[in-house]
Structure formats: C-alpha cells, structure tokens
Amino acid sequence: MANLIKLRKGLNINLKGKAATELMSVKEPGFYALCPDDFTGVIPKVVVKEQEYVMAGGPLFIDKNHPEMKFVSPVSGVVTSVERGARRKVMSITVEAAAEQDYEEFGKQDVTRMDGTAVKELLLNAGLFAFIRQRPYDVIADPTIAPRAIFVSAFDSNPLAPDFEFALKGEEANFQTGLDALAKIAGVYLSISASQQAKALTQAKGVTLTVFEGPHPAGNVGVQINHIAPVNKGETVWTVDPQAVIFIGRLMNTGRVDLTRTVAITGSEVKKPAYCKLKVGAMLTDVLAGNINKEREVRCISGNVLTGKKIPVNGFLGAFHSQLTVIPEGNDVHEMLGWIMPRLNDYSTSHSYFNWLMGKKKEYVLDARVKGGERHMIMSNEYDKVLPMDILPEYLIKAIIAGDIDRMEELGIYEVAPEDFALCEFVCSSKMELQRIVREGLDMLRKEMC
C-alpha cells in the first residue's frame, strides 16, 4: 500500500450545486480563445495574424523568453481577433472553429523508446508544455531548468470540485501514457485521495504514489509537495494538473493535440449541475445560457469559488480550469445589522455565528460579497488552522507586505502558490486579499532573482 498522509488542518466548504456524475451534451461552441494571462509568467508574442487559418495544435503565440515554447490553438479555424489592452498587452486571441477540424500531426510516439529531452521537445512544440507549472513562483515551467521532481495531484478538494475519477473514465490509457512520458523527464509523484478507487490511479505505474486524507486543501499540489518533499531554495519542481496529463497521453497515443477537458458545471445558480466535455478556451455562451437561474444577478467563475477567475456569461473557459461555477453576485443584498444577527444561512467557521447548529450536511448558497471591510491583520491563528503546511502564514504574508525578500525566502515562499492561501483568504476576518499579496510577493522575488 502506498504512503498514507492524514491531514487535520483545513476546511471543506459545503456549497450548493454539486455536479451530478453524468455527462450532459452541449452544443459545440463556435469560438475559442486563449488568454495569455492564464499562463502566469509568460510574455506572449503573437505569431498569427487576424483572419489567418490555424490548425488544431498550431501555435497562436510563443513565449518571448523561450521562443521554443508554443501555445497552440485548441481547434482549427480562422483567427477572428487578437485583443489588446493597455500598453498593447495581449488580452486574448480568438479562433472561430471550422466545421471540419484538421489537426496538426505530431506523429504517434512510443514513449518507452523516448528520452527526457525528446519528450520535452515534443511537449514544447505541441503546446502542452504550457500546461506544466513550476514551483518556485507558481509560473509556467522554465524549460531550461531540469526539475527535481514532477507532482501530479489526482484529486481536487476545492468547493464543488470536479471528480477526476469521472473524467478519467475511458482515458485510463492516455493518463498512464502521460505519466510515463513525464517520468522520462523526472520522477513523478502522484497523489490520490483516500476515497479514490480507480485502478488507473491506485495502480498507476512508474510513479511514487501517495494517498492523502483530510479536508481541503489536501488536494492542493502545494500542500502535497510540502508533505512529500518540500521545495528548498534553488530547487525546482513541476506540477501538472491531471487532465493535462491526459492531454500529454493523447498526444503520445494519437499524435494529435486534443485539449478536451471534462468540465464540471457547478454552483447554486446552475439549474442542472453536471459535467460536459469542453475544449480549453471554449466560449461558454451555449454552455451556460439557459442553464442559469435568471432571477438574480450572477457571477460566473471559470474555476472554483476560491481560486477561479471571474468571467462574463459569454466568456471563455480558462486554460487551467476543469470547473465552472455560478454563484449569486449578491450586490443587491443589504443585510441589516449583520454583525449582531445569528445569520443561520450564512457560512462561518467562527462559533460567533450559529450556522454550526445546522450541521455539517447543510449545503450553503454563498454570494460574492466580502461581508466586511478590509483591516490590518488582527486575529492570530486564523490562517494556521486551514493551512496544513510547515509554514507560518501570518509571518510570510507580513514579510511580503513589507517587501522583505530575505525574510520571504526564510519563511518558505518558494513552497507556496497563491492557491494555497485561498482558504486563508476565505476565513480571514480582516478580509485581506491574500492571494493577490502572495502573487505580488512571488513576482517580486522572481524579478529579483532572474
């Protein structure tokens, strides 16, 4: 049996709108868009012109610092727009899907005969390297640095998170091939949850398997790394989301780039929460329209409620997201004297509210309100309770705010990503924007080091 690590700290937020484990068919979206901002740390250089035809798997932009790293179109079709924002920053590149899809052919591969360099080159060329992130800095991996190890978390513990076992059905072979390919580059650590039974996971070959048990953020790869083999200064590890491992497997087995994800459509404002198959960057108008409650103003999120990105209802699926969440915006709510009311329908970890009376089974409908003003850090031990890492979160946050680079290093900023602080941000009574702070700290450090 694999190593079992039990975590006690953390918090499962029980929200309404969990996706039923059934696949819902959706109309093929007409447009696809890649947002370079999704690929943290990359400086995009667009290599297509508007109205140009691209193949599925053909490059849309490359990284200025590593021109060999390509970011490819999920579908074939005509580039309809390259949208730029302030200072000509590339915001998104949109492709209108052609009726007939043609794929760039990369050739079927026999992974067992490949070496690490060959795998890396193929991934860079086929645009799948873009789905590999690295610690430190939580950015797209630097292909010139050899990683110490590659970590894959096969479960997502975020609120309403998609069930990876469901996405894995029918993709077992591709998943194993993906793992095999990654194992050519460095040792692969696969972390699964104690409740996962799929053979492709529990009997995955060529990987070091670790079983995690406990509340969210047990599924966060950063937490897992911290418990398996923490990142020290000077080391680099890669992290890959499990659906991207399937992308890699498909590339090896079919020779084509197929960026189809199994996406969970979740949230209290979704009429029928279920799964559907969508390609990265898919336009969501047809997916969401008609499936959302119209009574209230809603917030659509690509990703989960803790780390996701706010998108318009006709927005696009983020590159790294296997989940869509729709919750009420809540800006029409004026709660009177909320600071003294029992607020049974509102969720709090604090016993100063009485929602604990409702039991742990209750599913909450939470809106996007912050529910308080931002303050200095007042309470202590709030973050520690939900961060199962050997890190002193309050001190790390303070060091980042102070811009003290030495202190950040000492306190272990190399081990963390903004997502690890998402729960801390949720419980913070001072309503500090911790994920933004951590991101700024990582960027500051990266600028200093590179």
Partner: protein
C-alpha cells in the same frame, strides 16, 4: 428597513468626495456599515468569504464584557450603600452604580471614537472597530472615583500615542486600554490607588448619601500594608471594593466562556496566565519573604485584583499578545508569573497585572521571534541536508 436603506442611499452622495458633508465621510461610512453589511463584492482572489468580520469579533468581546460590567455597576452601588450605611434596595444599588459608571462609558467612547473618526477621515480609511472594545474596557478598569476629565485625557493619550501613531488597530504594540490605565496610574496616582477612590462617597441624583472622607481599601491594598485578609466568597462573587469591572470572578468567567466558545480569545493564553499566576503564588507561599502579601494563598491571588479580568480580556488581545501558538503559552505564563512577582516584591503598588501585561506586550515580539526563527532554521537545515 427598505425605507432606511433608501434614505441612506439618498443622502450618501453628500458624503462622497465633493459632497456637502464630505468632512463627515468616515462618520457616515461608520454608521452605514454598522446598519447594513457592506454589499461590496470581491474583486480579486476568493469569490466567497466567511461571514466573520472584525465588527462581529469586536461585538462579541463587548458582549462577553457585559456580565462583568453589569455586575460592576451593581457592586459600585452595593459598596456605596454598604460603606455609607445607607439603606437601599437592589434596584437602587444598581441604579446608583449605573449612574456612576455610565458617564465614564460615554466619555471613553466619545473621546476615543471621536479621535478614530478624525483619523479615519484624515487617512481616508474606514473606521476600525478596535475601539469598541477598548472603549468598554477603559471604564471597567478604573476606580469609580476617577474624575471624567482625567479619563478623557488618558483615553485621548492612549488612542493617539499607543494606537494611531503605530497605524491603528492591528498595528499597536501595547494594549490601548492598559495604556490608558497606566497613564492615569502614573500621572494621577492619588486618584488611582490608595483607599479613598474605590468606593464613591457622593450621592447621585438623590440616590445614596454623601459622606466626606470615606475610605475603603481593596483586599490587595490591605494585604500590602497590614495583614492578608482571609479568603471569603465575596472575593469570588465580587462584592469587594476594586476597579469597576474587575471584582467578580463569576461574571468574568461567564465572559471567558463566551470568548473561548466563539474562538475570539485563545485558550492557550488564558490558561497559561492562570497557571503562571498560580505557580508563582505557590512559590511565594512556600519560599517567599515574610510579608502579608507573600503569605496570601495562591488561589486568593488569582481571585483578587485585576488578575482574572486581565487574564481573560487583556492578555488575550490578539494584536498585542504573542501571535504564534507556542508563543502564547510562554506569553501567558510569564504574564501570570510576573503579575504575582510585582504584587509581592514591589513595595509601592498593590496590583501587578497591568504592569505585567504591558511588560509582556513588549516581549511578545521577542517570544514570537524565537518561534519563527525555529521554523526558519528548520527550513534551512532541511535545505542543507538535501544538498
């Protein structure tokens, strides 16, 4: 409720930049967020938030203070009627105490919140709730005869120099309520100690009776100059002279339960203060000098003076206490021990809790430093062993 909301929306523009009453923006905002939970939605980071906010936390501390405050009011009346020999019913005693304490609460809040409003306006920030607690603590830790003007000056000093200059709630080094008390204690010692300030000798609106030169010492004061008073249940129920809110162990225990249950205060700090105090009291009982106060049994030490009140409401202040979990044990233990050391070995002051907490406020960052350094060196060692 809707009418009120509409009214607020109607007058809101007046308070915004360029509006007629822009100078009162912070005041308006303070009241608006007090009446309605702000409906601002998250812009970055997590899309949902826990319902807890600092208003809720601070109001829970104030709620936890209520039993001690109400009992303190009653005790002020009880002590007065008792000492002057006047006859009085429960209602009269409470009424007397209420009228004696209320002006202090009002002065403390008006002065403190006034400064907070001005600073918030000046710094273009929201009003911070920290003073809700401080403003309630201040009247509870002074003797009943403390003049209002002194209270006003001390509160102003403390809010400005102990809190706002450091950056407001969350940034202060010392507990502002204790700084208020320390200011009074050292600037006006005759009104803060001795045996004439603890029981009021004036009648208020015809309640009670005026007696000149009324004296009544606190049990700790007695132990300092004469002999150690025997333990009595009045020391637990709180029917003894003392600062307004500090006397009743039972009322403070109710507050402690509220604070611990709601998770606002740390049980680690609270428990270790008592452990430290009890242990040091026992040490003095066994090996101490031959003075009355050193002979005071350890459990009596814990009941008397501001020990309980300080342990429950002051030492647990998250901002000025140790912020690391292991540090909290050390911090609390040293407060308890230090309070008893000051009581026993100091010739001048009968009470040591205030000074002990303020002293440990200074050392809290040092305790944390050790704990944090521990984490840092563990990480460094790990990196060394890997390479």
């Amino acid at each position: 409720m809707n009418a009120l909301r509409n009214y607020l929306d109607k007058i809101k523009p007046n308070f915004e930049e360029g509006g007629k009453y822009h100078a009162f923006r912070s005041v308006f905002e303070g009241f608006e967020t007090f009446l309605f939970v702000p409906n601002a939605t998250s812009k970055t980071g997590t899309h949902i938030h826990d319902a807890i906010d600092s208003k809720r936390i601070m109001s829970f501390v104030v709620i936890a203070l209520m039993p001690a405050l109400l009992f303190g009011m009653y005790n002020v009346g009880y002590q007065h009627f008792h000492a002057t020999g006047a006859e009085g019913s429960f209602i009269e005693m409470f009424g007397y105490g209420f009228l004696a304490v209320l002006p202090k609460i009002i002065v403390s809040y008006v002065v403190g919140l006034g400064i907070e409003f001005i600073v918030a306006q000046w710094k273009k920030e929201e009003i911070q709730e920290g003073f809700l607690v401080t403003g309630m603590l201040i009247p509870m830790i002074v003797p009943v005869d403390c003049p209002l003007w002194m209270l006003a000056i001390a509160t102003a000093f403390s809010v400005i120099f102990c809190k706002e200059v450091f950056g407001g709630t969350g940034m202060n080094v010392f507990n502002p309520a204790l700084i208020t008390r320390a200011f009074l204690f050292f600037a006006y010692p005759t009104k803060m100690s001795g045996d004439t300030v603890w029981v009021s000798g004036d009648s208020i609106f015809g309640l009670g009776k005026t007696v000149d030169g009324l004296t009544a010492a606190t049990p700790l004061g007695v132990a300092k100059v004469a002999e150690c008073p025997a333990f009595s249940w009045d020391m637990v129920t709180g029917l003894i002279p003392g600062s307004i809110g500090e006397t009743s162990v039972i009322a403070i225990a109710i507050g402690a339960v509220i604070l611990l249950w709601s998770g606002v205060a740390s049980w680690k700090t609270m428990l270790s203060v008592f452990v430290g105090g009890a242990l040091m009291g026992w040490v003095f009982n066994t090996w101490g000098p031959d003075t009355a106060i050193a002979h005071m049994p350890w459990y009596e030490h814990l009941c008397l003076g501001g020990f309980c009140f300080g342990a429950v409401f002051m030492a647990t202040d998250p901002v000025t206490s140790s912020r690391t979990e292991n540090g909290k044990f050390v911090y609390g233990f040293l407060i308890g021990a230090m309070a008893i050391i000051i009581r026993v070995l100091n010739p001048g002051y009968p009470e040591g809790m205030m000074l002990a907490i303020l002293l440990m406020n200074i050392f809290a960052p040092l305790i944390d430093y050790v704990v944090v350094q521990n984490n840092i060196s563990r990480r460094a060692k790990r990196a060394m062993s890997n390479n």
